[in-house]
Amino acid sequence: MSKPKVAFFDFACCEGCQLQVANIGEPLLDVLDIVQIVEFREVMSEKWNGDFDVAFVEGSITDEHAVERIKKIRERSKILVALGSCATIGGVNGMKNSFDLEEVGKYVYGESYKFFPTLHTKAVHQVVPVDYFINGCPIYQPEFLTVLKCILQGIPYYVPEYPVCVECKLNENVCMYDRGVTCMGPVTKAGCNSWCINNGNICYGCRGLTINPNTEGLKEVLKNYKIPEDFLIKKIEMYNKCKEFDKS
């Protein structure tokens, strides 16, 4: 049996998630034992014209060219994986959706903005069907390996639906709210083993909101901690602005 053909593609993103894959260290050798990487612009020059067994897509969809390109990649891939926040939830690119598109175009390209038509930012699954999601900005390397193994075993991967606090508590970190700092852990999907907080940073909420957040309850908590509501809304919008397209 030949090894599954795997490719990596990027759209609007910083390519940092692909860098996380390239920088995964020793496990990369074992990964290369079980898959054949046929296209991965960040680490190799070769291209592939055929079909893929698995395509990892980093980045969000922000213009017509991207829409066409992701549709073609979807057609050529048996399994499509959204890699990183930009691909899974729109990520920081989603902040564009808070502004008028023309205004945004002018801000970036000046008067020649008309030559660079743009669209509202979308996550990959808002344009084409996605089979697996690897959240995070950047992705958490151990989770990438877990998802890869699930794909190769043909079983689903469930992104934890509970908040980062669950993992953070088991790591016995001092709660950021005890330190007097606002942390997004209570409303952010887990799966990263509270990576940032373990290293003394707050959670920025890069993995997206939990599925069933108690928004009213959270407002009460914010009041108790004297955190203005709009401060938190801004923090949520940093990564979650594309969520509104999920409803339609």
């Binding site: 639906e161 509970y162 606090c165 508590k169 088991l170 001092v174 209570p186």
Partner: protein, 355 residues
């Protein structure tokens, strides 16, 4: 209280004692983490240990029931090979408060019930518990007097009680007496020390008063009347379902079982991780049905697991009064307040019946 079961340790010798313990085996003790947070951690020297501490973020349960524990290893070659695994090591837990000892006793009860949790029972044998009695409340969240966990009863190998000038140490097992011998720092207790210990316990009975306006024996009745109490609906609005209350509880033992294969996809392990009834996926079953969808139902379940169901099954209250759930809850759900609210509502109902 038999004097021959007690020993004396000079306060100045406690660091020597801890350093000697460290030569016997691995030692875990409370360590300060900043911002009034403490954690049980393996220590390298006595200096790291905090003798005065409020309950740690996670109870010492984590040594008995690891947060992530391998259960079996398998390999999928031409034939399936499965090998059960038990993770254990010799460990001395120093400075365990009586509330946390009560928690371990609850776990012992459940995990030695059928089907026996063999890995747990093996691990337990390798752990020595050295208790440290609290002479005063840690903070306002504790309700240890209500459940009777403020005094040492049983469940430890040695129990340290701090008196004015020295520690008086109760030897409660042969493991404990071995440590006394090996460290060689203890003096026999005299009648005067026994009297001082008695005086301390009397002083404690004035400090520790039942924190809840009812008695333990009325709990079954109270909870039988409270399934539809209004407080559960209030908790629906408050609770964020972060699962902190269950993660820090010394008597919660629910787990999820997962499997992990290595990158050869042929060798792997089955392991268990702590899980919580407060989390969304906990009661979700095939077909996407969730039989405890409302946060109110999940919180109610938590309270019934502490104060009702286990009384029938084991004759024990599964709350140790450590106060961790109240201390950690961002939404400010406080165990003492919830119980008080249940009592008030149920009293009102009873009065209405009479009038």
């Amino acid at each position: 209280m038999k004097t021959e079961h007690y020993r004396i340790l000079e306060k100045s010798k406690i660091t020597d004692f801890l350093d000697k313990l460290n030569t016997i085996s691995k030692v875990a003790a409370p360590v300060y983490k900043g911002f009034n947070n403490y954690a049980f951690q393996t220590i390298k020297s006595a200096e790291e240990v905090s003798l005065k501490y409020i309950p740690t973020v996670i109870p010492p349960k984590k040594y008995f029931l690891p947060t992530n524990e391998s259960l079996l290893e398998f390999s999928l070659g031409n034939e399936l090979k499965v090998e059960p695994t038990v993770e254990y090591e010799n460990l001395i837990l120093f400075g365990v408060h009586t509330c946390d000892i009560a928690g371990i006793r609850c776990l012992n009860m459940v995990l030695s019930d059928k089907p026996k949790d063999t890995a747990y029972l093996i691990r337990k044998k390798h752990i020595t518990i050295i208790g440290l009695e609290c002479n005063d409340y840690c903070d306002e969240f504790a309700s240890c007097a209500f459940v009777g966990a403020h005094l040492p009863t049983t469940g430890y190998d040695l129990m340290f009680t701090e008196l004015e000038d020295y520690f008086i140490v109760h030897i409660h097992s042969s493991k404990g007496s071995d440590i006394i011998e090996k460290t060689g720092l203890f003096k026999p207790a005299q009648t005067i020390s026994m009297e001082e210990l008695k005086a301390l316990r009397e002083k404690k009975s004035a400090i520790f008063n039942n924190e809840i306006p009812t008695e333990r024996r009325y709990l079954p009745d109270l909870f039988d009347r409270s399934f539809n109490a209004s407080i559960w609906k209030e908790l629906e609005q408050k609770c964020l379902s972060c699962g902190n209350c269950t993660a820090v509880c010394p008597t919660c033992y629910c787990f999820d079982i997962k499997e992990n294969v290595d990158l050869s996809l042929k060798v792997g392990e089955r392991y268990r991780v702590w899980f919580s009834c407060q989390l969304d996926p906990f009661a979700k079953v095939a077909g996407g049905i969730d039989f405890r969808r409302e946060r109110s139902a999940r919180q109610r379940h938590r309270f019934y697991r502490k104060f009702r169901y286990h009384i029938d099954r084991y004759g024990m209250v599964f709350c140790t009064g450590c106060g961790r759930c109240s201390r950690t809850c961002m939404a400010g759900i406080k165990l003492k307040e919830v119980l008080t609210s249940l009592i008030r509502e149920s009293e009102a109902k009873i009065w209405r019946k009479w009038l």
